[in-house]
């Protein structure tokens, strides 16, 4: 999968907006949206929110977790614990990027939030690499990684699976009789 495909999936997530126009309920394959009334908050998918925002038809309400204090807490927790901590949203990285790029004026302290999320991301990627290394070193057959998000899996996925495939072939060599299989190496 590519990063832009992951972003596409993230755009299905709901966010709250305050429109400045009025429109009846609209009927889409993915569900009904609206009705839109000026000043009344309404939940829409992220893709529509960004589209409306770009046309300056609404004001975006940032998700609850997109707040400097909460993110600092999350960052500290992520740094202190050895395992992955649950993230406020399965698409936190995509959300931050999209919202800060298109609706930075509706988000207080946008720059600080960007740095905090990036820090959390870096910590998690370092952890992921560390656990991948110990996984290979101990020659485990399976591992459990909770609370990883799709984007994180996506960055190391192809590399890790290819490495494990390769290691599996080398391991079958160890078994007597495994040498017959190694012909189709």
């Amino acid at each position: 999968m590519e990063a832009s495909e992951v972003e596409f999936l993230a755009e299905q997530e709901p966010v709250t907006i305050i429109p400045n126009f009025s429109l009846d309920r609209i009927y889409l394959i993915g569900g009904d949206l609206g009705p839109f009334n000026p000043g009344l908050p309404v939940q829409v998918p992220l893709w529509l929110a960004i589209n409306l925002k770009q046309r300056q038809k609404c004001r975006l309400i940032p998700p609850e977790w997109m707040d400097v204090e909460k993110l600092e807490q999350i960052r500290e927790q992520e740094r202190n614990e050895a395992t992955f901590t649950p993230m406020p949203s399965p698409y936190y990285m995509e959300f931050t990027k999209l919202l800060l790029n298109y609706a930075a004026d509706n988000i207080p302290k946008a720059d600080e939030i960007r740095t905090l999320v990036k820090d959390t991301w870096d910590t998690r990627i370092a952890k992921l690499r560390l656990s991948a290394d110990s996984f290979v070193r101990q020659q485990e057959a399976h591992a459990r990684l909770d609370n990883l998000t799709l984007m994180e899996i996506n960055t190391t996925g192809p590399f890790l699976t290819q490495a494990l495939d390769h290691m599996y072939k080398l391991r079958t060599n160890l078994q007597p009789g495994g040498s017959a299989q190694s012909q189709d190496f």
Binding site: A3, A132, V136, T155, F159, S179, S182
Partner: protein, 155 residues
């Protein structure tokens, strides 16, 4: 009888037969005891590409010939891969927009494939983060297209 010959692997494999002892195979130096101790000391400093660009694949093929050292050989190849894994992972996922030829120079061919996979993951993510992923570019297949386009023919 008793002559030492260098044969390609495919021929040696064809001639090698358990029942009739037409030939016996001597391990290449890289897979012998003395090199195995080098690998177990520190596999990271060894230039696998110089020793034989297909260290892992060729080593696995050598197991087809029943030699008493088979078990140790298989173990060494596996351990070599495990100890080199971390370095490949780190270098492939941190070198963004850099000249990678120095990093790749010491890697075996299979390791190079891995390195490429790691680089692709990194590059994909970085280009998304910088907002370049939404720009539409020509597919790599089309870029290599050798045929002349209609527009060029008309001109």
């Amino acid at each position: 009888q008793g002559t030492k010959l260098e044969l390609p692997l495919w021929l040696a494999k064809g001639l090698y037969n358990n029942k009739q002892k037409i030939l016996s195979v001597e391990l290449p130096t890289v897979y012998k005891e003395s090199w195995r101790t080098v690998f177990s000391a520190d596999a990271n400093v060894v230039d696998l590409h110089k020793l034989g660009p297909y260290y892992y694949a060729f080593g696995s093929q050598m197991l087809n010939f029943d030699s008493p050292e088979n078990a140790e050989l298989a173990q060494t190849i596996l351990q070599t891969f495990i100890s080199r894994f971390r370095r490949i992972m780190d270098s492939s996922q941190n070198a963004f927009n850099e000249d990678t030829s120095a990093l790749v120079a010491r890697l075996d061919e299979t390791e190079r494939g891995l390195f490429q996979a790691g680089q692709k993951g990194l590059n994909d993510f970085q280009s998304w983060e910088m907002g370049q992923a939404s720009q539409i570019t020509a597919s790599s297949l089309v870029q290599n297209y050798r045929k002349r386009k209609h527009s060029e023919l008309d001109a």
